[in-house]
């Protein structure tokens, strides 16, 4: 996948003109953002807790090698097999090899951005293993053969009618589109069969706790528990940066994760996996159930070179999605415009860093630099700073992202949609507020393609609003 400015423009235009998608994006991101705000307001010391968390994440990354080794030692001591993967290909090879060794033909998966990042499903299919996503949203987009459009809610772009159609095709039975509980019950029934039949469960890991060698998985549906309990083999793929040295650190992490993501004080299920089922538990007797083999794949895939660099801070991210929900660009363009499993402000920074700036030259510009992302981030990551650094890197590395070309050729497009134009210029309406001078946009010189000359301000009423109101 790549995302040039032209591609971003094309995908964003599709999203902008899709009225239903705009409503869904507005609704979902608005609800998440409001819920997050309320959840954090309920703990008066939230800001200090976030400062504390940032300090934890910074210190952890400064000594990451040591923590990874501690994790490896403790996990191995309880019988977990620990693997190291330099890149996606290596990680996929490790997982498919485990599957083939066990003669696995069906694997159930719990939602994992790391496995999206390495395209594990394609690798599994090629190796003769059928991967079934079990997070309801992730399963819906798997059936639709589409990538996720939000870190937390991967299928926010699908309507219940589309879901009913997909379920009908999968089950061969008619489904009632209007009835979401009935669709959910149907998913429960269909996926329960898969859980019981699968030879292997694949998960990500929200974090790993070094001092006990544990992998922590957070879900609301319970699929994380299913995937790590029902099959004979469990494989977890986790980025090397997702380490909490101690349970004290993990407690801070878990206190902020669900609150920031969905506004829940705690997700419904927080599952802590520490090795395979015991052949001799504390009383000397064996566990009655649980996987016989547990594997953890520590995934680098471009992360270790960031440690010690000006981009190290991005590794503090815990993938809560809060920055997506407040981003004026994401809220308009939707997740697919970014062309990466990671969308929104975090995606705009991490996609070029992990997968190559030359492949994602448009993303550093897919931001209004309004700072809303940093305001809500549980680790207070300075995403705007890194977006600017990436823009500078584009220049020094001589990578054209096509903004000049777009400027020239974009008059007609800008007439069609001022928001598209705003997106491409890296200025949403929210972002331009502090930059408005006498009704004109006065951008810092560096970002103003028109030099010193102020650009006309964006209309108060956006294209989308005009269109919705029948004025265009």
């Amino acid at each position: 996948m790549t995302t040039t400015t032209a591609q971003f423009r094309e995908r964003a235009t599709i999203a902008l003109e899709d009225v239903r998608l705009q409503q869904a994006l507005d609704g979902a991101t608005g609800r998440f953002a409001t819920a997050r705000q309320a959840a954090l307001a309920a703990i008066p010391w939230a800001d200090e807790l976030r400062d504390h968390f940032k300090a934890i994440r910074a210190a952890t990354l400064a000594n990451l090698a040591e923590h990874l080794q501690t994790f490896e030692r403790q996990a191995t001591a309880v019988g977990t097999h620990v693997h190291w993967a330099q890149d996606g290909a290596e990680a996929c090879a490790i997982v498919t090899e485990i599957a083939q060794r066990h003669g696995v033909t069906l694997a159930t998966k719990s939602k994992s951005m790391a496995t999206e990042e390495i395209h594990l499903n394609a690798a599994l299919a090629k190796a003769g293993v059928r991967p079934v996503e079990t997070d309801l949203g992730e399963w819906i987009i798997q059936l639709a053969e589409e990538p996720p459009s939000h870190i937390i809610a991967p299928a926010i772009h699908k309507t219940k009618e589309q879901v009913a159609e997909l379920f009908e095709r999968e089950s061969g039975r008619p489904q009632s589109a209007a009835d979401i509980p009935a669709l959910t019950a149907e998913a429960r029934r269909m996926l329960r069969e898969q859980f019981l039949a699968a030879g292997m469960g694949i998960s990500g890991g929200n974090l790993a706790v070094a001092e006990t060698g544990s992998v922590v998985l957070v879900t609301n549906e319970g699929n994380g528990r299913m995937v790590t309990t029902a099959p004979r083999v469990h494989v977890a793929i986790i980025g090397i940066e997702k380490i909490a040295p101690t349970w004290d650190d993990a407690a801070v992490w878990l206190s902020l994760l669900a609150r920031s993501a969905t506004g829940q004080p705690m997700s419904i299920y927080t599952t802590v996996i520490t090795g395979p089922k015991r052949t001799a538990a504390l009383d000397g007797l064996p566990d009655p159930d649980g996987p016989e083999e547990v594997h953890v794949v520590l995934l680098d895939n471009g992360r270790s070179p960031l440690v010690g660099s000006k981009y190290e801070e991005v590794l503090q991210c815990i993938r809560c999605g809060a920055c997506l929900n407040v981003c004026p660009v994401y809220r308009e363009a939707g997740g697919h415009a970014y062309g990466s499993p990671y969308s929104g402000p975090i995606g705009a920074v991490i996609s070029p860093l992990l997968f190559g700036l030359d492949k994602y030259p448009a993303l550093p510009h897919a931001s209004s630099l309004c700072g809303a992302c940093q305001d809500v981030c549980p680790a207070r990551i300075d995403l705007p700073r890194m977006l600017l650094e990436l823009r500078a890197d584009l220049v020094t590395q001589g990578i054209a992202h096509g903004s000049e070309a777009v400027l020239e050729g974009s008059v007609s497009l800008a007439m069609r949609s001022e928001r598209v134009w705003a997106l491409l210029m890296g200025m949403g309406r929210v972002g331009q507020r502090p930059l408005l001078k006498n009704g004109k946009l006065a951008l810092p010189e560096r970002f103003n393609p028109g030099g010193e000359r102020p650009l006309p301000a964006l209309a108060k009423k956006s294209f989308h609003d005009l269109w919705r109101d029948g004025e265009v």
Partner: protein, 215 residues
């Protein structure tokens, strides 16, 4: 092995002396932990009950099983459940006592109406129950059946995640005692993946009932 060395060497060359901050101390304070637990669990669609003692809790359990019309019940064989002699108390029900009853546990759980367990702790702030796996503590017993009922003394209540980690650092959270699976459960299984509309009971239990009793 080469990959491991490459990654670790690269990280080590950027190692810096930066100490972890001192442990965050809980700032949360509740007048009545049981009351707070009930409020928090209710807010997430869980069903808390308060009983004056174990006897009262057992009576409530009986009433709930009757109301559910439960026929097949799987129970983790742990305190206080182990001492209640449930199969003798309610012989009209079909029981699977983990580690005791012969037969296929997984098969039984697949068709069980209710899973019954205790927990090692409960977190008042969030209405969460913490359960461990073990030789008498099945993981699927609390996961496969549509209803999960927990029987728990109020003495196991703790304020929040921070008091939980502080209290259990050297017991339940220590190396060697931490079991293969520890789960914090904070309500019935739910999803909002179809049009952001909340639906209960997608993969895990549809009802999460906690009977707290004072000792």
């Amino acid at each position: 092995m080469r990959t491991r060395t490459t990654i670790l060497t690269r990280l080590q060359s950027n190692n810096r002396a930066l100490a972890q901050p001192t442990t965050w101390q809980s700032r949360q304070g509740f007048n009545d932990l049981a009351e707070q637990f009930v409020t928090a669990l209710t807010a997430v669609h869980g069903e808390p009950h308060l009983a004056p003692n174990l006897e009262g809790a057992t009576a409530q359990l009986g009433a709930i099983l009757a109301e559910l019309g439960a026929q097949r019940v799987v129970a983790n064989n742990e305190a206080p459940i182990a001492d209640l002699n449930l199969p003798t108390r309610w012989p009209h029900l079909q029981w699977h006592i983990v580690g005791e009853t012969a037969g296929d546990l997984r098969e039984f759980c697949t068709y069980a109406d209710v899973g019954l367990s205790s927990g090692i702790a409960a977190i008042a702030e969030t209405g969460s129950v913490v359960i461990h796996s073990g030789s008498a503590q099945s993981r699927v017993a609390t996961l496969f059946p549509p209803v999960h009922i927990v029987l728990l003394p109020t003495s196991r209540l703790t304020t929040d995640l921070f008091t939980f980690t502080a209290t259990h650092k050297n017991t339940h959270l220590a190396n060697g005692t931490l079991p293969a699976a520890m789960t914090f459960i904070s309500g019935p299984s739910k999803t909002a993946d179809i049009e952001q509309t909340m639906a209960i009971g997608v993969h895990g239990p549809k009802r999460f009932i906690v009977i707290l009793y004072r000792e």
